[in-house]
């Protein structure tokens, strides 16, 4: 066994040996070890290199706040960087590597940065790389040159590039009481709430419940605190209404008492059990929350405080008591408060020599003096550490007389030989979640710490979180909080009895020892006390600016160690008390959260796919599909060797010459029903619908409240009180919401219901000179001649035995019919129409041909109804009824909306017989080198088989007045310039004789 490992004690299993590697070297540890405790037991002192100066760093803490000992854990090709070694539970085969060093941890070339410490002070990057470009290598360009090297030299671990093969889960949980933290306070709270019958979740970020009870060495109810904690956990685990979540970090406190937590399910296992995810993201809605999150011990700021071997006092106590590891053989302690004395005694008991306790206070209580002698330590009251010595491990330190009131040093330096220096700068309650929940922390001058704010959500604090640092207080507060959270009455039953060493919870207000050398405030980001003062000298007075300029508290640990010392130094520089300088508000996440856990099951393509009833037929018949919103629609039905343009030209030509059929099931369909349905449609559409006869359809236009065009479509009157409204595919949802809003909020007196029936109907549009004979060949139960089925007429009949509804309306400009059937029979009807059309040369056509024919006809779609155009811009003013008000009618005539120079819909013909592009601009004078003065832009374009030309629709300033004039297309992105002619948007069959038949 290694000399650092104690013979007995702790909760590690000395009979189980675990093998792992660190930087390629094999090590062993025991079950229950963290990577940090196992490496310390192996005598490892050097864990990492610092962010900026590449200084050697050891392990500072024993928990989640660790700033120095960050490692990368490798699993196959997957690397996860920046994990505190203190939070990695070892398992057989664990592979961990250190970070930010080249080529190795012991010999790091980047350590040369230490020589440039003066240059690399706060704001180095701002000063060096900002500003005007004067020479070839100054300012921003200098940065671009240097960035490559700097990015390599400064920083943390490298992220991997291999895809993450792990599975993650999201869980939604509900409870009456969520207890965060499982120290004595949290355990008491969970037990008290559970005994009230409340549904309780107890979460702790550590692997083992118990918190400080696991290492405090105290006695509770006559047994070691660790045993008491295990007994409590056992009792809780037996309750059906309690869920225990170890290894679960509650990292976010959101509105409505919603909390986010990350459970590390299998990170500590060599092999995950079947079905286990790597991590689980918990979204917890809690009736009440008990925050028993404890506190962090603060480092002291003094020269050389970052040398490997310098550690927080409680961390060493924890390593000794919980893991059976001694951080050193000759230990010195440096403190401004009483808590370190217990640590000294604990380490002495565990077998280390405690050579000295250096206390900044000159007035030490008799109790503490007794504990110092129990530890057989020399007590140096009114002293301070002014330097540390050693390279990759501590060899000694220097102390001097210190006056805590003035902060001045005096007398000769004295050297002390030690291989470990433990420090305690007081304790800061872990108030992060309370701060996230929405209030400002409050400074307590006695505790020299920020205490949690008054709750703004339903939480109750307990234990060290509230600044009550003794276990007896924690137990009392925990029970009270648990009872209150569960709605129970306060209890006067006796509390567990705690035997603990005494101690004053209030530290001396000393944060920094000013002496020569680098004194680190933020270990992880290499921010020194001098950097903070430099920022102040350079004019930074706000704590937010200070943070950004020095990067204090901005690394992965988010300043868990450095916040308060940094503020204290800032406050002193400003000559203000700490509360006036203020603290920053903590934001989620409390610790780093894997992106995988946030995504959980939601990865890959997250959009649902909407498929029409005839989708499979399209695929089987050679359709090339494309996505239109969530829908998939045929683009073309290409023949072998055909280009897209060849296919749509063939399809639209065949439609105009004989007949074509297209799937229009995606159109939005809304059933509008009720006694006031007609009156409602009169208000919604710009044109009249109350005058529409039953069995007829009408094209309608909707405006928005601001008078701009919103959507268009045909609406069919199926009965006196029943309409079927169709909308564009893209706007189906928006139109539905629009109608619902007006019925529910604005006109609740109207007796109308609206129902989305988009998915209930399959639709096929069949058009062309032969369309009617094809229908006649397959429709039974109704005639389809001009008298029975005139333009915009509706008939009911059957196709292949299936009831269908047929409306004669046209988008293509040909004589055309829309055939609607129940969605489940869509394919059957579709196939029957195809079969009936075979003798007549019926073709299937896709969206490209549909678009081509609508451009030839000058119909508008979403490309023209783009939220900026009015009905007049689109030449739809004939649809604006003057007999009634409608949505948008009051606003549509505003000055700006009727100006003559507005963009108006026109047709465009390419005079150079080359394709045009959507988005290309229309200009009066061509200037390829310096395109300017756009008149408007192209919204849709195609090759028109009917005209034998490349044509387009465009929105052009004062467009109607420009009909017959020439201009140019200017499309510098695609290098397309050339002459065009502006014409009417009605390219083809402007009087509509083809569709009226």
């Amino acid at each position: 066994m290694s000399p650092r490992r104690t013979e007995t004690g702790g909760r590690i299993d000395r009979l189980r040996t675990i093998r792992f590697t660190f930087d390629g070297a094999p090590y062993t540890g025991h079950a229950g070890d963290t990577l940090a405790s196992a490496l310390l037991a192996n005598g490892v002192t050097l864990f990492g290199r610092s962010f900026k100066y590449h200084r050697p760093r050891g392990v500072l803490s024993a928990g989640v706040e660790e700033p120095n000992a960050l490692v990368t854990v490798l699993r196959g090709e997957v690397r996860e960087p920046n994990i505190p070694a203190t939070m990695v539970e070892i398992y057989d085969g664990l592979v961990a590597v250190s970070q930010n060093r080249t080529p190795s941890l012991a010999w790091d070339i980047g350590a040369i940065n230490q020589l440039g410490g003066k240059i690399l002070s706060a704001g180095f990057y701002y000063k060096t790389f900002m500003g005007p470009v004067i020479g070839p290598l100054k300012g921003t360009r200098f940065w671009m040159f240097c960035e490559h090297f700097i990015r390599r030299a400064a920083g943390l671990g490298k992220a991997g590039t291999a895809p993450d093969p792990e599975r993650y889960e999201r869980m939604n949980a509900f409870c009456d009481v969520l207890v965060v933290g499982s120290g004595p306070a949290g355990l008491m709270a969970a037990k008290a709430a559970a005994d009230q019958g409340a549904r309780v979740i107890l979460a702790d970020l550590e692997a083992h419940f118990g918190g400080s009870a696991n290492w405090s060495g105290e006695t509770i109810d006559g047994m070691p605190a660790a045993d008491w904690a295990q007994r409590m956990v056992g009792q809780l685990g037996g309750n059906d209404n309690v869920r225990l979540l170890p290894r679960t970090t509650v990292w976010g406190y959101y509105d409505g008492n919603t909390l986010a937590a990350l459970e590390r399910v299998t990170d500590h296992k060599e092999v995950a059990a079947k079905g286990e995810p790597r991590q689980r993201y918990w979204a917890i809605r809690a009736g009440s929350v008990v925050l028993a999150t404890g506190s962090f011990e603060r480092p002291l700021v003094f020269p050389g405080n970052d040398r490997p071997g310098v550690m927080l006092a409680h961390a060493a106590e924890r390593y000794a008591n919980e893991y059976g590891v001694l951080p050193g053989q000759r230990i010195a302690l440096f403190t401004n408060n009483d808590s370190a004395y217990r640590s000294a005694v604990a380490l002495k008991k565990a077998g280390a020599a405690v050579v000295a306790i250096i206390d900044v206070r000159s007035d030490i209580s008799n109790e503490m003096r007794r504990m110092a002698s129990e530890a057989e330590a020399e007590l140096l009251a009114g002293h301070a550490v002014v330097a540390t010595e050693g390279g990759k491990a501590l060899t000694g330190l220097k102390v001097q007389r210190f006056d805590a009131m003035s902060g001045s040093l005096s007398g000769d330096e004295r050297s002390i030989h030690a291989d470990s220096l433990l420090m305690s700068g007081g304790w800061s309650p872990t108030i992060h979640l309370a701060s996230q929940a929405g209030a400002k922390a409050e400074w307590d001058p006695a505790r020299q710490a920020f205490l949690p704010p008054k709750p703004t959500q339903r939480w109750i604090g307990a234990g060290a979180f509230t600044g009550s640092f003794s276990t007896a207080e924690a137990i009392a507060e925990g029970r009270a909080a648990g009872l209150q959270a569960a709605g129970g009455a306060a209890s006067s039953a006796p509390l567990p009895i705690v035997e603990a060493v005494p101690g004053d919870p209030d530290p001396a207000p000393v944060f920094e020892i000013k002496a020569k050398g680098k004194s680190f405030v933020d270990f992880q980001h290499d921010v020194t006390a001098e950097d903070v003062r430099l920022a102040h000298r350079e004019g930074f007075v706000s704590v937010e600016h200070l943070k950004r300029y020095t990067t204090l508290g901005m690394a992965t640990d988010q300043g868990k160690n450095s916040n308060v010392p940094g503020l204290a130094i800032m406050a002193e520089a400003l000559g203000k008390p700490i509360p006036e300088v203020g603290t920053t508000r903590f934001r989620p996440p409390y610790t780093a959260v894997s992106i995988g856990s946030l995504a959980a099951e939601r990865f890959g393509d997250l959009k649902p796919e909407r498929l029409t009833p005839m989708h499979d037929w399209h695929i089987a018949n050679g359709a090339r599909m494309y996505s239109a919103g969530l829908w998939y629609r045929p683009m073309i039905y290409g023949l072998a060797g055909e280009t897209v343009e060849q296919a749509y030209v063939r399809e639209s030509k065949a439609t105009r010459e004989s007949a074509g059929i297209v799937d229009v099931s995606t159109l939005g369909k809304i059933a509008v029903q009720g006694p006031d349905a007609a009156a409602f449609l009169d208000r919604v559409y710009t044109n009249m619908f109350s005058t529409l006869a039953v069995g007829k359809a009408r094209y309608g236009l909707m405006l928005r409240e601001d008078g701009l065009a919103f959507d268009d479509g045909t609406t069919w009157r199926l009965g006196e009180q029943e309409f079927l409204m169709t909308t564009t595919t893209a706007n189906a949802g928006k139109v539905m919401q629009h109608l619902e809003y007006f019925l529910d909020v604005i006109w609740p007196e109207l007796k109308v219901t609206v129902t989305s029936v988009t998915d209930e109907w399959a639709g096929a549009a069949i058009g062309g000179p032969k369309a009617r004979v094809i229908l006649a060949a397959c429709v039974t139960g109704t005639a389809v001649d001009n008298a029975t089925l005139p333009f915009m007429g509706i008939v009911h009949g059957r196709i292949a035995g299936v009831p269908v509804m047929i409306c004669r309306l046209s988008f293509s400009g040909e004589m055309a019919f829309e055939v609607y059937s129940g969605a489940g029979y869509g394919t059957r009807v579709w196939e029957a129409l195809i079969e009936a059309g075979k003798p007549f040369g019926l073709v299937t056509y896709g969206l490209e041909a549909l678009g081509t024919m609508r451009i030839e006809k000058g119909h508008v779609t979403g490309a023209e109804i783009d939220g900026r155009t009015t009905a007049r811009d689109l030449h739809l003013d004939w649809m604006l009824s003057k007999k009634k008000p409608f949505i948008g009618s009051a606003m549509m005539d505003r000055e700006g909306l009727i100006a003559s120079d507005r963009l108006q819909l026109v047709g465009v013909v390419a005079l150079d017989n080359r394709p045009l592009n959507g988005g290309g601009h229309i200009v009066e004078e061509l200037d390829e080198a310096n395109p300017h003065d756009s008149l408007g832009h192209i919204t849709a374009c195609c090759y028109s088989p009917a005209l034998g030309k490349y044509i387009a629709l465009a929105l052009v300033k004062g467009g109607k007045a420009r009909h017959g004039t020439r201009a140019f297309v200017s499309d510098p992105l695609r290098n397309r310039f050339g002459p065009i002619e502006i014409v009417s948007n009605h390219f083809y069959d402007p009087d509509g004789s083809r569709m009226h038949g």
Binding site: D255, G256, G438, Q457, D706, Y741, D744, M891, R894
Partner: protein, 97 residues
Amino acid sequence: MLITCPYCGPRDVIEFTYQGDGNRERPQPASQDLDAWNAYVYDRLNPAGDHNEIWQHSGGCRAHLRVVRNTITHEILSTAFARGGHKSTENRAEGRS
């Protein structure tokens, strides 16, 4: 954030769609008072505090609700059908500590 729909009970905010300031008053349909229309279409209150809002339970019963929400704390103070005349739900008193 939970919104208590009078039909469906307390539901997560992702089921709802914000439909804007509930203080706006739509002029009579035939009104030609452009200032009133302008105020209705464009003016929105943006208080730091309690705000009367319209939300649609679009992922549920699709009813529109009149919701009083505190824009600072996101606390929902009351919900009721926007149509009015139906029951409203008040947050439990102990919810506000």
